[in-house]
Amino acid sequence: MNGSTRQAADFLRSYDGAKIRLMEVCGTHTAEISANGIPSMLSDRIRLISGPGCPVCVTVSSYIDRLIEYSMSENTTVLTFGDLLRVPGSGGSLADAIARGGRAEYVYAPSRVIERALEEPDRSFIFGAVGFETTAPVYAMLLEELLQRGIRNVRLLTSLKTMPAAIRAVARLARDAGEPVDAFLAPGHVCAVTGTADYAALAKELQVPFVVSGFGGEELLAAIYALVKLRGRGEMRNLYPRIVRPEGNPRALEAVNRFFAPADAGWRGLGMIPGSGLLLREEYSSFDAGSAELSEDRPAAGCRCGEVLTGRITPGECPLYGTACTPVRPVGACMVSAEGGCHTAYVSSGGKGRKKEADLT
């Protein structure tokens, strides 16, 4: 541990100023904070809450339901990233659909989508393309390749989200609920693509600090330290400059802009947020498997993922947490993904359920 990290650690451990609520809005931050044991290093006056930064967790049930329908359709195979198979829709999950004879496979990389399409040229493939600004360029490159190679048996069912409008919505919800978020850890990977201007503007608008952070333990500690120090100031700091440039990654942005246009998007727990998503542009609609109309969200009875995602309750305050809803048998999306708030809380409390988790937050 170097000198400045030690200084930050000492400060955060002994902090006795006004209570402060910090939100991290990136699922990888959530997982790394937990893996490094950071909650144990903070004064109990500093509270970390996980925001809507796990793409699987914010996906609405109607999207999952549509993928399931496709998996049961004749001569059709759904391809997705692994986590998505286990996310419950309004009925079951894609994994359940497979058990009933549905066709869905998980892929590690979009290049596998191309391989599958070429292996079975007469079969129709639906690729479940979920993600944030970070994954959108990957889908753009896939589309580029599909076009170049003239592959016509792949369509995308997209659920692509963009962060700034969602952060604004979460901040307002929390403020209205009387528990405002005092500072935000800005998503490092997202900023590497989009740049930092949106976050500087949000900081000013919401009058709370934003710090762009990397993913190492020392980087996260430094970012939390900066946020506590900046409390009350509408300023943005970039503490991840080796990866994040103010202007982002122009090439990636260009690729995304070619294929996708900003659109309204439905978020689990947050509802419809104007301008918080991406849809395929009109001229590429032949690659779209009907993504636009999917905004309805009907989570399982009793599931409070929406409130967890917005920081209104901790995972332990959901009545299903650790009892009906566990990583082995998840009811809500937040318990599925290794980057989901409930999954992280469950694992970092040793799987002991509610009491332990409450102790650790």
Partner: protein, 331 residues
């Protein structure tokens, strides 16, 4: 040449397959009669175990299914302090499997058994219809080992103050299989290995080994939780002391894997009396598969949690057993 359904008929082709591919390589006095059961010399106390091996790909950097099928079962016997003696081998072959591949796997199995000092004394072969395009092989091995009268190695003997020694780096097998499946270009090799040398050296030197477990599926996190739960004690780990190779750490970063829940096939933990820990570590480090061994933690009275990790950053967190799938079928 390929495996065909006729190889599983029980008729002439089956006999030819058994004689030419298996019996020729596993040859020993107890097997050579090809009787319905092998009659073997015994011992007062026996350790018995069985395991099935379904990994794909069948050959991977650092090993193959045949080597794995011997190491997995022999290591399980060693973990109880037994001297491994006999194995059985049950083969389930898919029609369409390349016979040259089958021969390589059988040869590797024979070599590993010879290295382990065990005899393959009985076997069975079945052929099933083709499932995978390129065929497939599943092996079950059962193992018998001789136990000393005066030696009890089990989780029930763990005491507060005991030290936890890990015999080397975590995650190599899992990372190698995952890389092969994703066709990633890296130098990661499976750690599949016999643990005969470090175990016999420790026990031979009279180290008070209270419990041992090989760190296979579920990873270190799962095994230590089992130990802690069975012993009603807490295990405290120091993250900085847990060895992980830079290449595996890098892959974990990219794929979001945790070395603590990844499978290994040539690593074990030994829970030893604190007075013997230093000598035990030295002995393990002197063996070919234990050069990076480390004391990674200790047992304490139960403090409300089974396994606690002191992170390199200076925090603490609970280490939970693996939940969900991790990744399917890596051993």
């Amino acid at each position: 040449m390929m495996v065909t359904m006729a190889h599983g008929s029980g008729g002439e082709e089956t006999e030819k397959l058994i004689r030419e591919i298996f019996a020729a390589r596993f040859d020993n006095p107890w097997l050579s009669g090809l009787e319905d059961a092998a009659a073997v010399p015994g011992s007062q106390r026996l350790a018995m175990t069985t395991d099935s091996f379904v990994v794909r790909p069948l050959e991977f950097p650092g090993g193959d299914l045949g080597k794995l099928a011997v190491c997995g079962t022999v290591n399980d016997l060693l973990m109880r302090g037994a001297v491994p003696k006999y194995l059985t081998a049950g083969w389930i072959l898919e029609a369409g499997t390349d016979l040259a591949l089958l021969e390589r796997i059988a040869a590797s199995m024979a070599d590993t058994a010879a290295e382990a000092g065990v005899q393959i004394v009985a076997g069975d072969t079945k052929v099933v219809e083709n499932v995978h395009e390129d065929g497939g092989i599943v092996i079950n091995t059962a193992g018998v080992g001789f136990l000393r009268e005066d030696l009890e190695v089990s989780a029930s003997r763990i005491r507060p103050g005991d030290q936890v020694i890990l015999s080397g780096t975590l995650g190599d097998h899992h990372a190698a299989i995952q890389s092969a499946r994703m066709r990633l270009d890296n130098d990661i090799c499976s750690d599949v290995a016999l643990l005969t040398e470090p175990v016999s050296i420790m026990l031979g030197a009279g180290i008070r080994v209270h419990a041992m477990r090989d760190v296979t599926r579920g990873g270190l996190a799962t095994i230590l939780n089992e130990f802690a739960r069975d012993a009603h004690l807490t295990i405290k780990l120091e993250q900085e002391t847990i060895p992980v190779s830079p290449a595996v750490r890098n892959l974990c970063g990219i794929l979001g894997l945790d070395p603590l829940t990844m499978g290994n096939e040539g690593k074990f933990i030994a829970v030893v009396d604190p007075a013997d820990a230093e000598q035990a570590l030295e002995l393990i480090r002197g063996t070919s598969c234990g050069q990076q061994a480390a004391v990674i933690g200790k047992l304490t009275e139960w403090v409300d949690t089974d396994v606690i990790l002191h992170t390199s950053l200076g925090g603490t967190r609970v280490v939970a057993p693996l939940t969900g799938e991790g990744l399917p079928r890596i051993c």
